[in-house]
């Protein structure tokens, strides 16, 4: 194909090439002009990682066994002496990575405030709580950038599911973790059966996870319809 193209471009019709180059130059110029004269454009694309929670991400990566490896028994953890209010985590208590570059973190307060007012309830999560990300796929490790739109939806979805997820005291802080894939339509409705892709080892906990997703439908409308992954951890981080 390449050779054919080369022959073609170098061959009879040089006018075509010129015409194409002109169009191309025009578009480049247009792009440049847009970049220069639209001051809001750079704000649409904030650079780099927004927020990273090394603890959550690394633990997710660490406990993810290979396809044949047995699930390691969740280790007994040192007791977490939690603040009086269990649902308000204290990010400063967790080791946080230093950002690789000196960058201004993006400000989502507007989006989140909007979401919160949409949800019609005060946010139980502190504003500076890191957006926890995790991915099952290779190549999506800690520190991978998440767009503000996706990050805001993830946070809204998390708050939403929390409201429907009953976690009896006996399950809390038992290091149980269920990974579930959910087919969402563009409105946030759960389509079909949520699929547990990794079990916690406690079937009643897993049942509770499916129950919570069912009860939470419709979720906040996702950035894109399709399969989304949720990790429900029993520990009150």
């Amino acid at each position: 194909m390449e050779r054919t193209l080369g022959m073609h471009w170098g061959g009879a019709n040089r006018q075509d090439l010129r015409r194409f180059l002109k169009i191309s130059a025009a578009f480049h110029a247009l792009g440049l002009l847009l970049l220069i004269f639209m001051p809001t454009l750079p704000k649409l694309a904030p650079p780099g990682v927004i927020m990273v929670d090394l603890v959550a991400s690394s633990s997710l990566v660490a406990v993810r066994p290979g396809p044949s490896a047995p699930k390691p028994k969740p280790p007994k953890q040192a007791p977490k002496i939690l603040p009086a209010e269990p649902s308000t985590p204290e990010p400063s208590a967790q080791p946080k990575p230093t950002p690789p570059e000196e960058e201004e973190p993006a400000d989502y307060s507007d989006i989140l405030a909007e979401l919160r007012s949409e949800l019609g309830e005060p946010d139980v999560v502190p504003e500076n709580e890191p957006v926890q990300t995790a991915s099952l796929g290779a190549g999506f490790g800690p520190g991978r950038p998440v767009s503000p739109v996706v990050a805001a939806w993830m946070k809204a979805a998390r708050i939403h599911i929390r409201r429907f997820w009953v976690v009896p005291p006996g399950f809390r802080n038992q290091s149980l973790e269920t990974v579930i894939e959910v087919e969402l339509d563009s409105g946030g409705d759960v389509r079909g059966e949520p699929e547990i892709v990794r079990r916690s080892g406690n079937p009643w906990y897993d049942d509770g996870v499916v129950r919570s997703i069912r009860k939470a439908s419709p979720l906040p409308a996702p950035p894109e319809a399709g399969r989304w992954t949720f990790v429900l951890i029993s520990d009150e981080i």
Partner: protein
């Protein structure tokens, strides 16, 4: 040829356009694999249950029978701490169950819409015996979690079946049986003498188990639930172990074989029931810890110090025994192997720690600790250096204490009066204890996270020394 050229041009141009405009943050993230949403628990801890009044399908129905059963069932479900109940006023569906086999299929949305996680329907039939059948539904997934039938003689306690059903409903949701149908024995002076009593774990059906006018103390359930071991001064005015039995074992004094020239202060059955850990002293000597078979054979002495050694508590695997010794100068909790070897001090904080109780799941030892003149119940992880996370909702700002070997322990609950004598429910999710917080000693239960405190005994007299019995068979 021309067509292909044009398409190539189009591709190149559109590529440029896309490159300039479309590769914004959203496109980039979505093009990649989607990140997973991590969710941690919120505040919701209790499931909501919509429980119908069971259909009375007896040949001669009685208007009060089903509602009475329903009241017992509701009370037992609330006792579990796992369920809160949806009011009948909120029901979209019928309040009373239809026939289980011939009724219409259930409409899950009727129940999920009113916020019920669980829907319970059932029927009771009184013929030659009482028969109960019930079903538990998970409304969100629209799945039937349990269907069971129980029968019992008409003369038996009907509340027991209601508590039994409640415990099964709990098990169907959390995989761990509730303990409403278990029993607690305790000591009470309510009739003037110090006698052993028994009640249901939710405080109902309180009744006397001994009636000898002497001093009776330290009840301990036989693991099969068929008897209670206790200490009584009814013979020679000296303490000996007795068995109160409702099973095959003969009631009466237990270790006659050991002779009468000793004082048997306290006995505790091992989890299998094959041995008893015994606090006993030869005349003129301090109490030491022994193990012995229930028939009095195979006596083994485990402790040999000049100190006072009391309060043995078996580990669930029967390999170790926690006990209390004042060999360091103050009473502290120790752990030893079942042959008496490997004795190791466990508690270091506080000048008075006693009454250890090993949880049936092995994770914790509950004990009472005196700080500032009052006793509180504390939990400690018996394994060195490893602790199991537990949340406490304490009213004071007292911080947890670290013992020198790195173990953490913290009070279960705080209050102005002493809590004493902890004993574990067989599912390790609740404890009972005696407390003088009302001015006189009463028996209380509490969830292992320090929530859901509930007083079981009322009225006059001191109620002390609870022992939580096993699951009913």
């Amino acid at each position: 040829m021309l067509k292909r050229r044009r398409s190539v041009q189009f591709m190149a141009v559109s590529g440029l356009v896309l490159g300039t405009f479309a590769v914004g943050p959203v496109g980039e993230a979505l093009a990649q694999q989607r990140p997973a949403v991590v969710v941690t628990p919120g505040r919701a801890r209790t499931y909501r249950a919509a429980v119908q009044i069971f259909a009375d399908r007896s040949e001669i129905p009685e208007p009060n029978r089903a509602p009475l059963f329903h009241a017992n069932l509701q009370s037992a479900l609330e006792f579990s701490g796992v369920f809160a109940l949806v009011s009948h006023k909120a029901f979209l569906g019928p309040v009373t169950s239809a026939s289980l086999d011939h009724g219409p299929p259930i409409v899950c949305s009727d129940w999920s819409q009113i916020g019920a996680d669980a829907f319970v329907e059932g029927e009771l039939i009184i013929g030659r015996e009482l028969s109960i059948e019930f079903r538990v539904w998970d409304t969100a997934r629209c799945v039937r979690l349990a269907r069971k039938r129980y029968k019992q003689p008409l003369t038996a306690d009907k509340g027991f079946l209601a508590r039994r059903v409640a415990d099964d409903i709990v098990a169907s949701f959390i995989g761990m049986r509730g303990v409403a149908s278990t029993e607690i024995s305790y000591v009470s002076t309510r009739d003037g003498n110090t006698e052993i009593y028994v009640m249901a774990a939710d405080g109902s059906r309180q009744r006397r188990a001994t009636n000898n006018g002497s001093i009776n103390n330290f009840p301990d359930w036989a693991p099969n639930g068929e008897g209670i071991l206790y200490t009584s001064y009814r013979q020679q005015n000296r303490p000996f172990l007795f068995l109160s039995s409702r099973g095959r074992n003969r009631p009466g004094r237990l270790l006659k074989r050991l002779g009468g020239k000793r004082a048997e202060y306290r006995g505790v059955f091992s989890p299998s029931g094959n041995r008893i850990a015994l606090v006993m002293s030869e005349l003129g000597q301090g109490p030491e810890i022994y193990t012995v078979r229930p028939d009095g054979r195979s006596l083994k002495r485990l402790t040999r110090s000049r100190a006072i050694e009391i309060a043995p508590a078996w580990s669930p695997d029967e390999k170790r025994i926690a006990f209390v010794s004042d060999r360091s100068g103050s009473p502290q909790v120790y752990v030893m192997d079942v042959d008496g070897s490997n004795q190791k001090r466990l508690t270091f904080q506080g000048s008075y720690n006693t009454h250890p109780a090993w949880s049936p799941d092995g994770h914790w030892i509950a004990y009472e600790s005196r700080i500032g003149g009052q006793f509180d119940i504390w939990l400690i992880d018996p394994e060195s250096g490893v602790s199991f996370p537990l949340i406490t909702h304490r009213r004071s700002d007292e911080s947890p204490a670290w013992s020198p070997d790195g173990q953490v322990n913290f009070p279960l609950i705080d209050h102005p009066r002493s809590d004493e004598s902890p004993t574990w429910a067989p599912n390790s999710r609740k404890l009972a204890f005696s407390s003088g917080r009302r001015g006189r000693a009463d028996i209380y239960v509490v969830d292992v996270n320090g929530e859901n405190v509930r007083r079981l005994t009322r009225g006059s007299g001191e109620n002390t020394s609870p022992s939580w019995g096993p699951f009913p068979r």
